[in-house]
Symmetry: C2
Subunit: 129 residues, 2 copies
DNA sequence: CAGGATCCGGCTGGATACTG
DNA sequence: CAGTATCCAGCCGGATCCTG
């Protein structure tokens, strides 16, 4: 629910014990999650190594890529395979669950590509128009 | 891009000057935005007054409802109508643009309702399984 | 190579008090 | 009634340094 904090001021979040949509948005809403899913989806069914993933996600730091992938792996959206060589090679790939999420995200992307310009215009109009 | 800050450390976000999807996620990812859109969509085509909206969004504070609505209005997703009585009455309604966003969000909601349980299970499994 | 640990600034959002 | 203003805690995420 995002309305974390367990006891929340007085009441408030007892009404919807767990809203799945908010739980989902709390994940894909973080800065790099959706880009990681997209990047892995574009590569599928191939797996992608950490460094390559980093290269394909301009601007992400080593830390945030690591954090993002760990989170996705915990969620069962991404599978992680370690090749115990020296130096180690770690590869990632979307799971089936991850692929189905990507399909759902594609809808949002389409909407964004079609309509974000309108939102921008609305903002400019509000600024002074 | 979220990678705000215009000049970003060195380079990094120059590669995708404006990713519409991130811009969108930066909006609907905020805590109350999607719930507000959903609540207004459920009421459509009727408009909803501030206080009533507040009642229908358990847990939201006056401030956050105000901030959320102002943002949605600026984005052209919600229209705002003021009835200049005393005390004033202000009503909100989804615009067409807002309705189309709601349609896109519905896809995410469906996915969330169908799959969040799997994600929860994956997390439990990771915790100790 | 992959990623853990640490430090820290900035933004998000909650509580509270005050207005037209 | 419908906000706005202020204060402040907590979390997100960036930079940097270190390791198997």
């Amino acid at each position: 629910m995002t309305t974390r904090g367990a006891r929340a001021a007085g009441r408030g979040d007892l009404f919807d014990p767990q809203c799945p949509t908010r739980q989902l948005l709390d994940r894909i809403g973080t800065k790099w999650t959706s880009m990681a899913v997209k990047t892995l989806a574009d590569a599928a069914p191939d797996e992608v190594r950490f460094a390559e993933l980093r290269r394909r996600m301009p601007g992400i730091s080593q830390k945030m890529l690591s954090v993002t992938l760990r989170s996705l792996t915990r969620d069962g959206l991404v599978s992680r395979r370690v090749d115990p060589t020296v130096p180690p090679q770690v590869s990632y790939r979307l799971t089936e669950l991850g692929s189905s999420l990507e399909a759902a995200l594609a809808g949002l992307r389409t909407w964004a590509e079609e309509h974000m310009a309108e939102i921008d215009r609305a903002n400019e109009a509000a600024d002074e128009g």
